[in-house]
Symmetry: C2
Subunit: 437 residues, 2 copies
């Protein structure tokens, strides 16, 4: 009988071993792609100085941050809190170790971050983010925007089993257009309206523009602009056809052209598509150029499964050195939850976390079973020896719940007789020698 | 110029990419062994209810625990803190999910735990522990004590490059001896004296016993007992020769005999040794049977590099269900720091985190370089394309600092000419085709 509430705190994801194995598998596939694309792994402390974490934050972040303190404080304790993303500790890390790093610094971080959001289904307070970033010193070539997007596509391909589209824009394009229209002071409002356009009827979007006091002619231009989406050639042609005489606009179109151009040379296979798309804005203030989001067209309601972009200055609050960067993040805890809800995780229903269980019939076979387990392990298979003193049927039931294959070792097997291996899912038996070949 | 203190909080380990790669490699080797031995991975939240975390704690733990709170509290927020080890959250997990787990539950956890210790060199406030445990429901066969110890040895073999000895005892043996000597009330003191015996001269240990008011004859018996160490046959014979007529003692000797017996059937290779040793006590109160520690004889001052033992009841504070277990823990953050200090990490001085850097001479070769990078990645090698617009010598310098091999792509290579690959450590060049075979 329980004596105490043993559920995890609300908003925390806690998986059973089988789900954990699926989660780990996805996580490892993503981080393998990151590593294979030349991103170097670093880890920053989960606990950092509040002064660092909140240097440029405000609003929700400040409300949601977890502060930490010790019961017995010591003299060297600054005001401390848990990191809420990877970007802020990365900024601190790059400034702190600037002289020991090689730039452009291609870096990956994958770990848990913490936000005390209001608990609700599918929202987590402790969550994995799997990030890559490229940080330049002084400047950073645009080619890295394409490289980061390409890495994202390759990472998503390892576990997203449906079609998906990476949609790219460049913040300078809209900024230039708005400037050209003389609406600079309304850039934030207009960005917000476009960012929300896919979630509401076109009529509603139109009304929002009107409520901003924008005249009909300019609304028409904005609405035409918002419809521009497609492959590189088409998007660039349509943008040029708008004949917007503005330097920022031209620069943005040019950057988008370069990034899409580099991506178009790469073959991402039948399931992944990369397009330009003027509906992509990204809410976060600090993006200044390339921005992208990724959607599964069959499951639009899920929202973006991987987003990112270019920022002009990673660490402006900590240093005078200009550090431009481009990065993406996959929020795996939430994404795993959603893919599971939509039954979009690969069918692994019969897959147990362990490959082979060895079941010695009695203690007399322990020695042989332990030796055999080492032989099977050398083949790279995870192998559990069932060392309980229960009856054989109980041992078999245990084995079939944790492992995918079972090997029974009795007197005959232990003294040189043939050994067979059973596939628990199909019931099929075969020779262990054959199986291990 | 820095505008703010960007060092990590004191007591936090923050590695440069190259050291992080060595750390990750060790961590992966250990967790691979755990997995291959049939331990199922789970993760528990870093944040848990203080009521859970401190249910059986006291003393230092209570002082060192990190409490967490949000700036804006919500109604569902219980008193919360950061986990200080894996055992307490595991207890909660097993009780919470008891009906969905298969027992014995062979489980592994590897993640960061938090203790607000006073900052000092080699002590960390945020640290990785890599644990395995086997949890039984009601009872748990002794064979799992041997399996856990064997897994520890295999895990240590992957990264400990010197001789090491896993030393095993059983708490019941000393408890029975002390009972037999009529010194039950002094068990804790005597355990402490024996636990410290290796750190002080024999004379000092003798004096400590005297200070406890133990008479000379009994001290003699304790001192003889403490000297017992060696292979199974020798240790068991010497323990029996003490002729201690006590049930607990006999039970302890019998258990030790069984555990050592199972371990002696396994071949751990030339560097690893497993012995019985009466000096092993383990400070932690909750061990009740098998206890072990692991030392490198050439580096005794380092202390135990892997410790563990058997506990009678994992979750007595949370449930009436008896859940005996046996487990070990490798404290990797501290161990990595120490091995580094002692220069005992494998010589990886020339190893950069990335395998191959591809260096396109100009933007004209970007497309070819990106395609080539995918080909090399398919061979399982991490590959970085240097996309900067610097001059070739700068690109080469960058590549040689982050990657182990470099491939330069100019006009000739991009148009079908032969491609060579350079080993940055040796300066040797060879054909890329040959290299990839």
């Amino acid at each position: 009988m329980k004596k105490i509430n043993t559920s995890p705190i609300s908003g925390m994801q806690e998986l059973l071993p089988r789900d954990q194995a699926i989660f780990d598998n996805i996580k490892n596939q993503i981080t393998d792609v990151y590593h294979h694309h030349g991103f170097q792994h670093i880890e920053t402390p989960v606990i950092d100085r509040t002064e660092i974490l909140l240097a440029k934050a405000g609003g929700d972040t400040e409300k949601q941050i977890y502060k930490v303190f010790k019961t017995a404080e010591t003299a060297d304790d600054a005001d401390q809190a848990l990191r809420f993303d990877h970007t802020v500790p990365l900024a601190r890390y790059v400034v702190e170790h600037e002289n020991e790093l090689t730039f452009p610094f291609k870096v990956t971080q994958f770990g848990r971050n913490f936000r005390g959001e209001r608990a609700q289904k599918g929202r987590f307070r402790e969550f994995y983010q799997l990030d890559i970033d490229v940080i330049g010193r002084g400047n950073l070539p645009l080619a890295y925007d394409a490289e980061v997007a390409a890495t994202a596509v390759e990472a998503l391909k390892t576990f997203i089993t449906r079609d998906f589209v990476l949609r790219i824009s460049n913040r300078k394009i809209l900024a230039g257009l708005v400037e050209y229209l003389g609406l600079e002071s309304q850039l934030t409002a207009i960005s917000g309206i476009i960012d929300h356009a896919e979630k509401v009827p076109a009529k509603k979007t139109h009304e929002c523009f009107e409520e901003e006091g924008i005249d009909a002619e300019k609304i028409k231009i904005l609405e035409d602009f918002m419809k521009i989406a497609g492959p590189r050639a088409e998007v660039i042609e349509k943008l040029n056809a708008l004949k917007i005489d503005n330097e920022t606009f031209a620069l943005g179109v040019n950057e988008l052209d370069t990034v899409l151009g580099l991506l178009e040379t790469q073959d991402f296979g039948p399931r992944a598509k990369v397009i330009g798309d003027m509906l992509i804005i990204r809410g976060l203030d600090y993006y200044t150029g390339t921005v992208f989001e990724t959607f599964m067209p069959e499951y639009r309601e899920i929202g973006s499964i991987c987003s990112g972009g270019r920022y002009e200055n990673l660490a402006g609050h900590y240093t005078d050195q200009k550090l431009p960067g481009v990065g993406i993040s996959i929020g795996l805890t939430r994404l795993f939850f959603i893919l599971n809800e939509y039954k979009l995780l690969e069918n692994t229903e019969n897959a147990n976390p362990i490959d082979v269980a060895i079941i010695p019939i009695s203690e007399n076979e322990f020695k042989f079973a332990l030796e055999l387990s080492n032989t099977i392990r050398e083949k790279g298979l995870s192998t559990d020896v069932v060392l309980t003193d229960k009856k054989l049927s109980d041992k078999m039931s245990y084995a079939s719940k944790t492992a995918n294959y079972g090997v029974v070792i009795g007197e005959s097997e232990a003294s040189g007789g043939e050994i067979s291996i059973k596939n628990f899912a199909t019931g099929e038996k075969s020779s262990l020698d054959q199986f291990l070949k």
